[in-house]
């Protein structure tokens, strides 16, 4: 992609498209990091507790940076954008908002580790494909930020790929749980590469590759892993029932936002 231009001019011309894309990226990482952080103290072993927390912390850092870019566009204060927007204004993909399983963190969390492994692996691989494309974005601030995200993501991807391969090469019980998780995650994956109703503008201004190209890249990137496990890459659903990019969400998001913003809403002007 050429047309790398002065950030300010670009922003004036296609601010709505940039804003929408930044909200999609920010909200994705914000919810993904939150769901990841719910494994604190519950991960299968202590090393995983450390690793999951690190990955969640990095991902929250990525979300914070995207919200900061929105703040610089004059959309609002970054912390407010993260905490105070209601569910119907959120643009994250459905898969990032889903609960980790039955129960609640504070009482009887009966979470599904296979689900978290599959969600994290598929999501991180999708994020990698997007971030690589964003490195060539016509909007320079996001292109520069993407370079930084890409370096940190290297370790996340490696981590989840290892879990994915190991559990699918393990016992019959593990394989069954993993295959169930793949079905669940893919049911929600229809909006992962969608840009929602801003698609035309986002693609026209070359902010990122087209939806189709990103899907192709994602499939190509995970195909070797699936082939080695003698599995087929599951198809990405067309026309999802809920498209998170357009603010269509599940009750899981309401619950997440309530918990996430509880402390912030007590005193939004407090300095933490």
């Amino acid at each position: 992609m050429s047309n790398i231009d002065n950030g300010v001019t670009e922003a004036a011309e296609n601010k709505e498209a940039i804003t929408s894309l930044l909200f999609q990226l920010a909200d994705d990482d914000f919810l993904y990091a939150y769901r990841g952080s719910e494994w604190l103290g519950l991960a299968p072993h202590i090393e995983e507790d450390v690793a999951s927390s690190s990955i969640s912390q990095d991902s929250m850092g990525h979300a914070a940076m995207y919200y900061k870019l929105l703040e610089e566009l004059g959309v609002g204060n970054a912390d407010d954008l993260a905490h105070l927007r209601p569910a119907h204004e959120r643009k994250n993909s459905i898969v990032t908002e889903r609960v980790n399983g039955e129960g609640y963190y504070m009482e009887t969390p009966n979470y599904d580790w296979a689900y978290q492994v599959v969600r994290s692996y598929f999501y991180t691989q999708a994020k990698k494909v997007k971030v690589e494309s964003l490195c060539k974005s016509s909007y320079r601030p996001v292109a520069e930020a993407a370079v930084k995200v890409k370096m940190e993501l290297y370790y996340h991807r490696l981590h989840w790929e290892t879990w994915f391969k190991q559990l699918l090469s393990s016992t019959d019980v593990a394989k069954k749980k993993m295959n169930n998780a793949i079905t669940l995650v893919m049911n929600d994956f229809g909006d992962m590469f969608s840009f929602g109703n801003q698609r035309q503008a986002i693609e026209k201004y070359k902010l990122i590759d087209s939806e189709e190209k990103l899907k192709e890249n994602w499939i190509a990137s995970i195909e070797p892993v699936f082939a080695a496990l003698r599995l087929d890459v599951p198809p990405i659903p067309e026309n999802p029932a809920n498209n998170g990019r357009n603010g269509e969400h599940t009750v899981d998001l309401d619950e997440a936002l309530l918990t996430l913003s509880e402390v912030y809403k007590v005193d939004p002007v407090a300095s933490w």
Binding site: S54, Q57, D58
Partner: protein, 166 residues
Amino acid sequence: MAISESVSIDRVYKILMNVKDPEIDSVSIIDLGMVEEVTHSGNSVKVVLLPTFLGCPALEIIKKNTIDAIKQLPEVGDVEVEFVFHPPWTSDRITEEGHANLRAFGIAPPPRHFEEDGSWHVDCAYCGSTYVTMENIFGPTACRSILYCKSCKNVFEAMKPVSTLL
């Protein structure tokens, strides 16, 4: 006593050597290569810093310590600290002195070379042995990994390499 001594960039850099990583107190932000630019206009000083990891919780502390340190210079008035993402911080910005100071803290400095598959190797931070295994690529902070030395039987930490080549 000089009444209107002008701001010296060299003196600012020198004092920034006292601003340590809050989690590794032998290593300064200069050692880490976080200081991208120092400029001044009159007696106002502006420092541009590069965050190591975007989610690093120490960034706000580093910002405050940077401001406090520079304000110790009597010739300085306002101090502004800004974090930017470009150029991206990479672990090869850590200076030779930074490598020595990390070792002094018991942390192996990040390797400068990668294998073709992106994997990397560090020697034991304590005894220098190459006979080590990776325990956890994620350590107590975002920027560190945990390894085990089979020679001296110590667990040690290494600073993760962060590179645009990865």
